[in-house]
């Protein structure tokens, strides 16, 4: 096993960045909850115990029948092996009691198993009336969770000890929300709402989390829609939700003298949603980079009056920006490109950006626009690194940041 381990760790050196550099400010990186059993991950919801029980019950029956079949097969093959060229073997062709028996017994077993599964399933499909509702939006290739007070989050935070109901929709193609530790899964379908519910009793705090996956193939980055699920105790949860709902406002309130804090701290946080398609440093991606990718400047510079930035198969966007034109100001164009991205499509890119209408508040759109305006500081040095982290010079130390 050690040989295997050394081989696996050798092979583990991937071409990508080491996984450690995930966050700049948090001193201790939270970890996911690991499995302790052979078959199932650690159960952490009200369904886990029953699902695991049924699974293991089926497993043991399977093991029994498998061993039975294989043992009998091996025994017969040995005992009745051909001797010489002896050909004709006399053996029974029928045995009605045996045939009936081995038909009826498995039937009874599967009927029992069916009812066990049925019972568990009915409870999965019947959320309690007082469940805490969280709205989920899935799109290629990210999740967004929205709380009753308007707070949004990329990771799923749930209160411990209370039933939670997720009301889910997709903005584009099929996705599927899967939390293995909770034993829940439901496809997320565009054009309709699907739901799932669970209750997690053990709080994870913010140091550990469960894993959340997209599990219905949705395109290129299907394997990169992973998120964390934090289960917080009652007080901690309500604190978090309140702060989350007002995180932008909190930032502003805590830094009254420094309006730029919004885009310096808030920008990178919001940029996470954009990062899967838009790079900051000019590198190619599904969408045009915010940085300088074709010599015409970064996203703010290239939509200014003197530049030429081609959209819709060769028309300069500058034709649409200006007093009396479709967009009065470049900010208006940037806003429209976030909320109605199909209106004008940058040349050489496909019309694949989903709208963020309903997912970003006006204040959040403003922060993103400010970030795009401030990709470089006044000396031309970049304010943000390739991952969107702020590397420019801060004003006074920001409070209320992550």
């Amino acid at each position: 096993m050690t040989v295997l381990n050394s081989i696996t760790s050798f092979l583990a050196q991937t071409a990508a960045d080491p996984a450690a550099a995930a966050s700049t400010s948090a001193p201790v990186e939270p970890t996911s909850i690991k499995s302790t059993e052979f078959w199932m991950p650690a159960g952490a919801s009200n369904f886990a115990a029953e699902v695991d029980w049924v699974f293991h019950f089926i497993n043991w029956i399977n093991v029994f029948f498998f061993v039975l079949v294989v043992a009998i097969m091996c025994y017969f093959v040995w005992k009745y092996r051909q001797k010489g060229r002896e050909v004709y073997a006399r053996g029974p062709n029928h045995n009605l009691p045996l045939e009936l028996g081995w038909t009826i017994l498995p039937t009874i077993i599967v009927v029992v198993i069916f009812f066990m599964g049925f019972k568990g399933y009915v409870s999965m499909r019947t959320p309690p009336a007082d469940a805490y509702q969280i709205d989920v939006t899935a799109q290629q290739w990210s999740w967004q969770f929205k709380y009753p007070n308007g707070a949004t989050s990329a990771d799923l935070y749930v209160p411990a000890g209370k039933p939670v109901k997720l009301v889910m929709r997709s903005n584009d193609v099929l996705h599927s929300l899967y939390i293995p530790d909770f034993r829940v899964k439901q496809d997320v379908v565009p054009g309709r709402y699907t739901t799932l519910w669970f209750q997690a009793d053990a709080a994870t705090g913010e140091e550990t989390y469960h894993r959340l996956f997209c599990t219905e193939y949705c395109g290129k980055d299907h394997s990169r829609m992973n998120q964390r699920v934090y289960v917080l105790g009652e007080v901690q949860f309500s604190d978090w939700v309140t702060k989350q709902g007002r995180w932008l406002e909190e930032l502003a309130v805590k830094n009254p003298g420094d309006a730029s804090i919004l885009w310096k701290v808030g920008g990178p946080r919001l940029y996470g949603r954009c990062a899967s398609c838009h790079t900051i440093d000019g590198a190619p991606g599904t969408g045009p980079s915010w940085g300088n990718y074709d010599g015409s400047g970064d996203v703010w510079d290239r939509i200014q009056a003197g530049a030429v930035h081609k959209v819709d198969g060769g028309k300069p966007i500058q034709d649409f920006i200006g007093p009396g034109k479709q967009y009065e100001t470049p900010e208006a164009y940037l806003r429209a490109s976030i909320l109605n991205p199909g209106e004008h499509v940058v040349s050489n890119y496909g019309n694949v950006m989903p709208t963020f209408k309903g997912q970003l508040r006006d204040a959040e759109v403003d922060v993103l626009i400010d970030m795009m305006k401030n990709l470089k500081d006044k000396d031309g040095k970049p304010n943000f690194d390739a991952k969107g982290r702020f590397i420019g010079s801060m004003g006074p130390a920001p409070a209320g940041s992550e």
Partner: protein, 579 residues
């Protein structure tokens, strides 16, 4: 007349057989002989298997590394697994047993001179080639990354250029399958010789008949489904687009209405082969003939009622989920009982462990696992956890590859002497079988644990990346890596086994020992003609006996093969010792 020396050519001195009947490329391309058509299908399917297998090895090799790799992007990976699935399902598994082995064996086993519609048979083969060409065209057009299941709305909006070509190819392949099915149904109904009643027909033919019924009834729905998807993509009609009032889940219903019966198209003929192999190589009458025959028909009928068990988490109503789950068990029971019947056939047999029998025994082992692991997937509460994870991948590979494909290879070894008149190397046959068996279990058994521990399927990377940050969900690589490594190692071992198989089989064509008419001691009609068979199969109408009655079969030292005493055999059947 015969010696034990290896013969340098296949049938140089043999009297007129179907291989030497006429020579030249055109005589093959325009043949109406079901045997030649079967052989062409065989090599075409095996070539496609090779391509699909290379795709699989690419996928498994990528999965050695949890994160991004420089030599394969996510898009290429998605195209690789999609192509693997599409090739294996549509070009290999669905056609291979019915069209390759079935075409060759069915008329001879039945006692007929050919299938009912030989020209339709050739046309089916041309359609298969056309479908394969469409698949190649789709690669040139940019490939397709939708998954072989083509779920909407991703498949109706994907920018990949090869989607419409491959859908056209699938449509054409569907008709190839339908015409083969029509041919088999009519052949079995109308071309049986006198004395060959339904209950004297070998179980392989019952299986092919049940398969043909499914092919005829289910495949048209696949045709419509892919046609609708092509229309959706080309004309933007909006039947699957929610913003135009359509329903993406409707596609899943249409798709699985065919694709579930399709998996029975894959497995039923395989089970038929196993019935033949087990009974011939144990020299024992099959146990429970009528049950096995009826269970094939029952499985064919019930297979149409359970498609929704692929859609438990799709948003389908809970009532439908419950109904589909319940009915699914009705399909499981007949399959289980067949396994018991085969075991009972081994009882008091006279078992010779040659290569076909080893494949037959592997089938029992692997199909038991495959079938039993279908149970947690049919049970609602566990399926919610297991759906769309590697558990499902493991289950269907056990039944599609470990069972159907293994049965196909076993059948190939069983009928190879008959088809080509040569014996392959038993030594290498056993080695390859062992390699495939061990490699297969290493590859796929680990995937059960991968799935139940929560690893989703169709994942390029398992390093927990989120929004461009690798390792955001940490620990995934550590949890899953060991399983992926074992699985990939197993896949290389399995590939080696297949390569060795290909080598010794090809080698036997050029340098194999001449095969007797009946190397294994079978009692069904195909063993009563020469190896290879003559062009017209039978010079006179064959005399039908009980095809599982080995009392009239004896070893003949001179021929180094078995011989059936036709008179004794036929009279034993009429003497009332029936099924």
């Amino acid at each position: 007349m015969t010696t034990l020396d290896a013969r340098p050519t296949i049938a140089a001195e043999a009297p007129d057989n179907y291989l030497t009947f006429r020579r030249g490329l055109l005589s093959w391309l325009f043949t109406l002989d079901h045997k030649r058509i079967g052989v062409m299908y065989l090599f075409a399917a095996l070539a496609s298997f090779f391509v699909g297998g290379v795709m699989a090895l690419l996928v498994r090799t990528k999965l050695l590394f949890p994160g991004e790799v420089a030599w394969m992007t996510a898009d290429q990976y998605n195209k690789a697994f999609t192509l693997h699935g599409a090739i294996m399902v549509f070009l290999v598994i669905i056609p291979s047993i019915p069209a390759a082995l079935g075409n060759f064996v069915l008329p001879i086993m039945l006692g007929a001179k050919d299938v009912a519609f030989p020209r339709l048979n050739l046309f089916s083969f041309y359609l298969w080639m056309l479908g394969a060409i469409c698949a190649v065209w789709s690669l040139i057009a940019g490939g397709f990354d939708t998954g072989w299941t083509f779920y909407t709305p991703y498949s109706s909006t994907s920018q990949a250029g090869g989607v419409i070509p491959v859908l056209v190819g699938v449509f054409i392949l569907g008709f190839s399958s339908i015409f083969t099915g029509i041919n088999f149904v009519v052949t079995i109904h109308k071309l049986r010789p006198p004395g060959m009643t339904w209950f004297r027909m070998p179980l392989f033919l019952w299986a092919l008949y049940a398969t043909a019924i499914i092919q005829v009834l289910a495949t048209p729905v696949l045709g419509i489904t892919v046609a609708l998807l092509v229309i959706e993509r080309a004309f933007n009609i909006g039947i699957f687009d929610p913003s135009m009032g359509g329903d993406p889940v409707l596609f899943q219903h249409f798709f699985w209405f065919y694709s579930h019966p399709a998996v029975y198209i894959m497995i039923l003929p395989g089970m038929g082969i196993i019935s033949e192999i087990i009974s011939v190589h144990s020299h024992r009458h099959i146990f429970g003939f009528r049950f096995i025959a009826f269970s094939s028909i029952a499985i064919a009928i019930f297979s149409f009622l359970v498609w929704g068990h692929h859609m438990f988490t799709s948003g389908q109503s809970p009532l439908m989920n419950v109904l589909f789950s319940a009915i699914t068990f009705s399909v499981a029971i007949p399959s289980a009982v067949k396994v018991f019947n085969w075991l009972a056939t081994l009882y008091k047999g006279s078992i010779s462990l040659n290569t076909p029998m080893l494949y037959g025994l592997s089938f029992i082992f692997l199909f038991t696992i495959g079938g039993l692991t279908g149970i947690p997937l049919a049970v609602l509460s566990t399926d919610i956890h297991l759906h769309d994870t590697y558990f499902v991948v493991a289950h269907f590979h056990y039944v599609m590859m470990g069972s159907a494909l293994i049965a196909m290879i076993g059948g190939l070894h069983h009928w190879w002497p008959k088809m080509f008149g040569v014996m392959y190397s038993e030594f290498w046959g056993k080695i390859a079988c062992a390699l495939v068996f061990v490699g297969f279990n290493l590859t796929f058994f680990t995937q059960f644990m991968l799935g139940s521990q929560g690893m989703p399927r169709r994942y390029y990377a398992y390093d927990g990346t989120s929004a461009g940050i690798p390792g955001y969900v940490e620990g995934m690589a550590e949890t899953f890596r060991i399983y992926h490594h074992i699985s990939t190692g197993g896949s290389y071992i399995m590939a080696l086994g297949f390569v060795i198989t290909g080598i010794y089989l090809l080698h036997s064509l050029f340098a194999g020992r001449k095969a007797p008419a009946n190397p294994w001691g079978g009692a069904s009609l195909e063993w009563q003609c020469t190896s290879p068979p003559p062009h017209d199969n039978f010079s006179k109408t064959p005399r039908v006996g009980d095809c599982y009655d080995f009392s009239a079969v004896h070893w003949d030292e001179k021929q180094q093969g078995y011989v059936v005493d036709a008179d004794a055999h036929a009279s034993s059947a009429t003497s009332g010792k029936g099924h």
